[in-house]
Subunit: 205 residues, 2 copies
DNA sequence: CATTAAAGTCAACAGTTGTTTACTAAAAAT
DNA sequence: ATTTTTAGTAAACAACTGTTGACTTTAATG
């Protein structure tokens, strides 16, 4: 599993890895593979499980971090990015295979992300303004946050390992974007439309 | 090129396709491949160029759409999703290879996205509140919007082609998320922190 | 210590891959 | 009408792939 993760982290897609490459990297003969996994699909799913286990651990860590209280958001981002840096290859794998992997792998990752979104929405519902929103809207906000973090994660992992300046810039950008989302959430009214008639989204994507 | 796009749209990663598979799908002998591309990398980059060309066309269409003015945002999303549906395979390719592809392919897509973000930021700067923000913040907002759309696009393309209910739900969710971002942008003040001390991001991802 | 289970090895297989070279049909340009 | 360019073909190559069955070593268990 380490060998596979390592190869993915070095820029290759999991689906393009051959069984023999992996055993070679692991320093083992091809036939040994079958002592551990029926086929590559099974290995892929095992990798999703394992990396998500790490991810859950991270989230628990961020959640329970004692914080100065004032700008908890920036501190959360900082904790998050630290952990990501300590487990680059695992997150590399997740980011890469989220949309790029085989169908069962994508499904497994989507299921995990869905779980995170639900948990996060539950967290939201304990705060003043948010406890008055319907669950659907809370999940909408949560998934917005999660997708933002995941996208930024992908960009972050593209950077060379030792480029603290660029990393710092991305980290700050992420903090700002999360702040925008929170501000938007605070201004959000379930049934309302935008304040004035015109909107900003002329070139939406 | 059509053959390759078709295979990617059917759930495989481009990097896992073999030259022979593609020529087989194209109804041509393997050696013919070399009449058009030096190797698979070159084909991949050509595919990025071609699909981004389509994407730019779409964006131009969304931009110039005459709109009721009231909820332009939802209308933009609708136009966008229509176009995506008419060119599913192209967007499938982009979504899949954005983080999942080989290094040069990822770089090419990142460059294109960066271009979209800059254009969108320029659009923003013509609106009341936004023309007072520094360019950096405008790009931060623009990339938040773009990433949100792209993520949702990935989820949308996972759905079976004929499932209008689920598509409608995602489309509505996307509209809401964009509205949240716009609201957040309107509440955004360059140097300010969040209104009150506590934040919402305890379980950030 | 003896036994059993788990992990690893070796050699072989049939199938697939990327790439080459020399040759041919069709289309475009002269 | 003839030359030239472009796109496609056929056959062959060495290299690599997934998977197998029969053995051997290592580790854990009773």
């Amino acid at each position: 599993m380490d060998a596979a993760i390592r190869e993915v982290a070095s820029g290759r897609g999991f689906a393009s890895l051959s069984l023999r490459e992996i055993t070679r990297e692991a320093g083992v003969v091809p036939a040994s593979f079958y002592r551990h996994f029926r086929d590559m699909d099974e290995l892929g799913l095992a990798l999703v499980d394992e990396t998500c286990r790490q991810l859950r651990k991270l989230i628990r860590a961020v959640r329970t971090t004692k914080l100065p209280g004032n700008n908890m958001l920036a501190a959360s981002v900082s904790t998050f990015l630290h952990y990501v840096n300590a487990n680059r290859s695992a997150f590399h794998f997740l980011s890469r295979e989220r949309y790029g992997g085989s169908t069962p792998i994508r499904a497994a990752i989507a299921r995990e992300i869905r779980g995170f979104v639900i948990d996060l929405a539950a967290d939201f519902s304990e705060y003043p303004h948010f406890n008055q929103l319907p669950r659907e809207d809370l999940e909408m906000l949560a998934s917005l946050l999660v997708n933002t973090v995941v996208s930024m994660l992908g960009d972050l992992l593209e950077l060379p390992e030792d480029h603290p300046d660029a990393k710092g810039a991305l980290s700050e950008k992420l903090s700002k974007q999360m702040r925008v989302i929170v501000l938007g959430g605070l201004a959000w009214q379930p049934g309302k439309k935008l304040p004035s008639g015109e909107s900003i989204s002329r070139g939406l994507s």
